[in-house]
């Protein structure tokens, strides 16, 4: 296992701080290039005018998802060492509804507000002020909010576990849904060719579709490669990580999953994701 670097102790904390800064730098730059420093552009998806938000988000999710599946599938990356956030279904649905309301009312989400503020948008500074007020309100009322905060807690749960399907298959379904959404918005919504020509490559619905079809094929291949993989490569000859972590026992899936509902197809090959307490991004 070569990755993830920090959890496996392959880089130190200082390197982590430097890396996270530069990751943020690229994230902010790409958000700006996507046009997400503009509240008008961000909100126009909700008036069916500009589908960039959906296109950017879905593409990013698909790329990272396939990359993650592939790297863990070939055994280069330890999926167990990647932090997966707990599912607290009720709190996350209520929080999502509120965040959606805050998005259309305020014009931003937290990350894009930083980019907009950096672009000189004064309304983004007002939004950021509101973010602090809201975070303060939440903290002050935390005792009172707690029941809602923990409503629907299920521990770490992923779609493949819940659906009882191989991660590769679920990923392929996500890619298909993304492709369908891209096709639908290219046909019935604003076409992305309004913002074409990046580095002299003309991005048309066709070339974008072709590129995504390649991704889909790759995702499917990865999915099946993983499905046919008997066991995650735990006992590799590679030097053992210094970080003490419970090694997932082979039948972990069987123990952890009480036969709920229709008996799930064998535990996903990646093993049941364990929630690791540690640094998590939020």
């Amino acid at each position: 296992m070569k990755a993830p670097l920090y959890p496996l102790g392959l880089i130190g904390e200082e390197a982590g701080f430097i890396a996270v800064f530069f990751l943020g730098l690229f994230f902010g730059f790409f958000l700006e290039r996507a046009g997400f420093g503009s509240s008008k552009k961000l909100t126009s998806i909700f008036y069916f005018k500009d589908w960039s938000v959906l296109r950017v988000m879905f593409t990013a999710i698909v790329v990272a998802m396939i990359g993650l599946l592939y790297l863990t599938g070939i055994g280069w990356m330890d999926g167990e060492a990647v932090t997966v956030k707990e599912t607290v279904l009720g709190a996350q649905i209520v929080g999502g509804l509120l965040l959606g309301a805050g998005f259309i009312i305020g014009g931003y989400c937290p990350g894009t507000s930083a980019v907009a503020a950096a672009s000189g948008r004064l309304d983004a500074f007002a939004y950021i002020g509101g973010m602090f007020a809201g975070t303060f309100l939440f903290s002050a009322a935390y005792d009172w909010i707690q029941p809602l905060y923990h409503w629907g807690g299920m521990g770490v749960k992923t779609l493949p576990e819940v659906l009882g399907l191989q991660p590769g298959l679920v990923a392929a379904a996500v890619v298909l849904i993304a492709l369908a959404a891209f096709a639908a918005t290219e046909i019935w919504g604003n076409p992305s060719v309004e913002s074409p020509r990046v580095w002299q490559v003309r991005l048309t619905p066709h070339s974008a579709g072709a590129a995504l079809a390649v991704l889909l094929a790759f995702g499917l291949v990865t999915g099946y490669a993983m499905a046919s993989r008997p066991q995650p490569v735990v006992a590799q000859s590679a030097p053992a990580p210094a970080v003490a972590r419970p090694v997932p026992a082979a039948p972990a899936g069987a123990v952890a999953a009480p036969a709920a509902g229709p008996a799930p197809v064998a535990a996903p090959p990646g093993g049941v994701k364990k929630f690791r307490k540690g640094k998590s991004c939020s």
Partner: protein, 172 residues
């Protein structure tokens, strides 16, 4: 339209770029990206400075200011600084840096600022409740196929599309 402004990237290209950044975050840090967490860290630091007793007693904020903890020295705050600087570089190199209250054609600046603050406040509560925002939950958890993240993402879009009608005069 200023002709000096360079055009936005294709959304698919920007999506691939953000996706690769997210993947790099998984590979290097073992977590994804996040934005709203930085606000919590900043708030905890400011509150601890202004009212140390209250902050250390607060049942939510005390986890960030415990013994020997500096809420500013956190991955989230460093990443947020990076996002801000990246946005700044992006806006400057594209000629999009402009001091203005961005608003719809029929919205007044005062109302826009008020609503931006209100929307930010709602989002501040929402992001804590959901344990993340569009970055930490929708993008990061989405790529990990986390159940709660997908539920969160659906809820975000449902609420925003549902309320868009009532705010159409602000934006359109």
């Amino acid at each position: 339209m200023t002709s000096m402004q360079s055009r936005y990237w294709s959304p698919y290209l920007a999506g691939v770029a953000i996706g690769l950044t997210l993947l790099a975050a998984f590979i290097v840090l073992g977590t994804g990206l996040g934005s709203s967490g930085a606000f919590t860290q900043f708030l905890a630091a400011a509150a601890h400075k202004a009212a140390p007793g209250w902050t250390e007693a607060n049942s939510y904020l005390r986890q960030f200011v415990g013994e020997g903890r500096n809420p500013l020295k956190d991955w989230m705050t460093f990443q947020f600084a990076g996002v801000f600087l990246g946005g700044l570089i992006g806006a400057l190199t594209a000629g999009r840096m402009k001091l203005e209250v961005e608003r719809g054609p029929h919205a007044t600046p005062g109302m826009r600022l008020l609503l931006a603050f209100a929307g930010g406040t709602i989002t501040g509560v929402a992001a804590r409740l959901a344990r993340g925002c569009t970055s930490g939950q929708a993008l990061t958890g989405g790529a990990q196929l986390a159940l709660g993240s997908w539920a969160f993402m659906m809820a975000v879009f449902a609420a925003a599309f549902g309320l868009a009608f009532f705010l159409r005069r602000q934006w359109q």
